[in-house]
Symmetry: C2
Subunit: 217 residues, 2 copies
DNA sequence: ACAAATTTTTAGTTTTGCCTAAATTTATTT
DNA sequence: AAATAAATTTAGGCAAAACTAAAAATTTGT
C-alpha cells in the first residue's frame, strides 16, 4: 500500500463512525483536503485492491482487510506519538505531523519492538487507545465534560479534538490527562462551566468542555 | 526535497569519494538501480535546485548546499541505525532497509532529540561516523585488516562492506566492533589470513580481510 | 412528481519519476 | 585520423495521484 492509499484508509476508518452506511465521497474529500473527483479515482483503485467496497453514488465501506490495514496504520501512528512524548521530550501538541510521517514506515519488527520498548502502552498521549497487533481496540468508558452535571467529578482521560490549538488551551489552564476535576457550576446562558482543578476554579467554554473526555471517578 | 531527490544526493555523495572530478551518469544509475536517462533527468532537476552542478557529458558534483543536505540525510540514517540496535534489539545486519525509510522523515526536533536520547553517539552500528548538526564528520584513523602485517594487532572499528551477507559472516566467526585481533599468518597464495580472536585462531579470506577496518592497538 | 440543487462520476490535463529507443558526444582503437 | 565503442542526452511515453470542467445520478423542495 502506498502512503496515499494508507491515508485514504485511515480517513475512511475515522469517518465510518459518523456514516454507518457508506462514507460519502465528499466527506472523504474534505477529510483528505482534496477534490471529490480525486476521491472517486482512489476509491476505484482501493476497491480493486479489495480493501473497500463501493457502489456508484453510494459511498465507501472498508472490508475486513481494509479495516485491519487502517487499524495497523493507526497503531503505528499512536505508538510513534507515545514514543515522541515519552522518550523524545515532545509535547502532546507537537507530535501529530511527525507521527503522520512515521506511521507509514514499513517494518513489522520495528513496531513490535517499539511497542515493547515503550512498555506496551494502552493509550497515546491524547488518550486514544492503541490497537494491538491483531487490531483489537480496548474501549474505555468515558464521557464529555460537557455532559457532567454540577457536583459530579471525573478524571481527564482523553480529548475529542487533538488540534494543537485545543491542546495548548488545555495546557494554559493546567489541564492534562490524569488530572481530576469537579463541576462547580454550569452557566445556563452559554453552557460554560466552572470546574475545580488542583484546588483552583477555572472556567471552561462549552466548546472546550465538549472536547474533553473524563472517566467517572 | 523529495525522497527520490534525497536518495540521489546520498548516492552522489558516496560516489564523490571515488570520482573526484564529476560523478558519471552511469555510476549514479548503477548505484540507484535505475537507467542513465532517468539520472540525466534528475540531474537537471537537482541542478535547477542548486544542490549540484553539471556540464553536459561531464558528470555531477554536489554544491555546498547539496553536500550539507546529503550529510543531513546520512546523519539521520546513522542515528536511526543506532537507535534500532541500541534500543530496539535489531542486529547490525537488519537495520539498513528500515533506516533507508526513516532517514527521510522531516523534523529537526526529532533528530536533535533522537541524538540526545542516544547519548550523542559518534558512530553507527557499522562503525561509520555520524555527522553533527553542522555536517562535520569526525574521521577516525583506521586501516583494512588486509593491510596489516604478520605480528600486528588491532581493534575492529568498522566495515567497508555493510551488506547483510558480510555482517553475518563476521557474526559467524565471532567478529564484532571493539574486538581485538592479531595477525598470526598470511597465506602467500591467496592472501587469506589466520588471526587470533578471543584466544582462538580463525582464518579469513582476502575478501573478508579487505572489508574489515581496524585501528592500531 | 418534477424542477432545482447537490453529489458523484467521467473525461481530459498536469507533474513526478521512471522507462525505451534513438541521437549525439566523448573515448578508445587501430 | 578515422572508425568503432562507450557514455550521455534527447525525445516520446507511462503510471500514480492530483487537478478542472462537464456530464450524470441522486436528493430535495414545493
Amino acid at each position: 500500500m502506498t502512503l496515499s492509499e494508507e491515508n485514504y484508509l485511515k480517513a475512511i476508518y475515522h469517518l465510518e463512525k459518523q456514516y454507518k452506511e457508506g462514507v460519502p465521497t465528499n466527506a472523504i474529500a474534505e477529510e483528505m483536503e482534496t477534490k471529490a473527483s480525486s476521491v472517486t479515482d482512489m476509491i476505484k483503485k482501493l476497491s480493486g485492491k479489495k480493501v473497500l467496497t463501493h457502489k456508484k453514488y453510494q459511498g465507501a465501506r472498508l472490508t475486513e482487510k481494509g479495516l485491519l490495514h487502517a487499524k495497523a496504520v493507526i497503531r503505528k501512528h499512536r505508538l510513534w506519538e507515545s514514543f515522541l512524548v515519552e522518550k523524545l521530550n515532545f509535547k502532546w501538541d507537537e507530535v501529530h505531523e511527525v507521527a503522520e510521517q512515521l506511521e507509514h514506515i514499513k517494518s513489522e519488527k520495528l513496531i513490535r519492538e517499539l511497542d515493547r520498548f515503550l512498555g506496551y502502552p494502552k493509550t497515546d498521549p491524547h488518550g486514544d487507545p492503541i490497537p494491538d497487533e491483531e487490531g483489537n481496540i480496548q474501549v474505555q468508558e468515558k464521557e464529555l465534560l460537557s455532559q457532567l452535571e454540577v457536583g459530579e467529578r471525573g478524571i481527564c482521560v482523553g480529548v475529542r479534538d487533538s488540534s494543537a490549538a485545543f491542546l495548548q488551551y488545555l495546557d494554559k489552564y493546567g489541564i492534562s490527562l490524569g488530572k481530576e476535576l469537579a463541576v462547580l457550576h454550569k452557566e445556563a446562558y452559554d453552557e460554560s462551566m466552572v470546574v475545580e482543578l488542583d484546588g483552583k476554579k477555572i472556567t471552561i467554554s462549552n466548546q472546550g468542555a465538549s472536547n474533553l473526555y473524563l472517566k467517572q471517578k
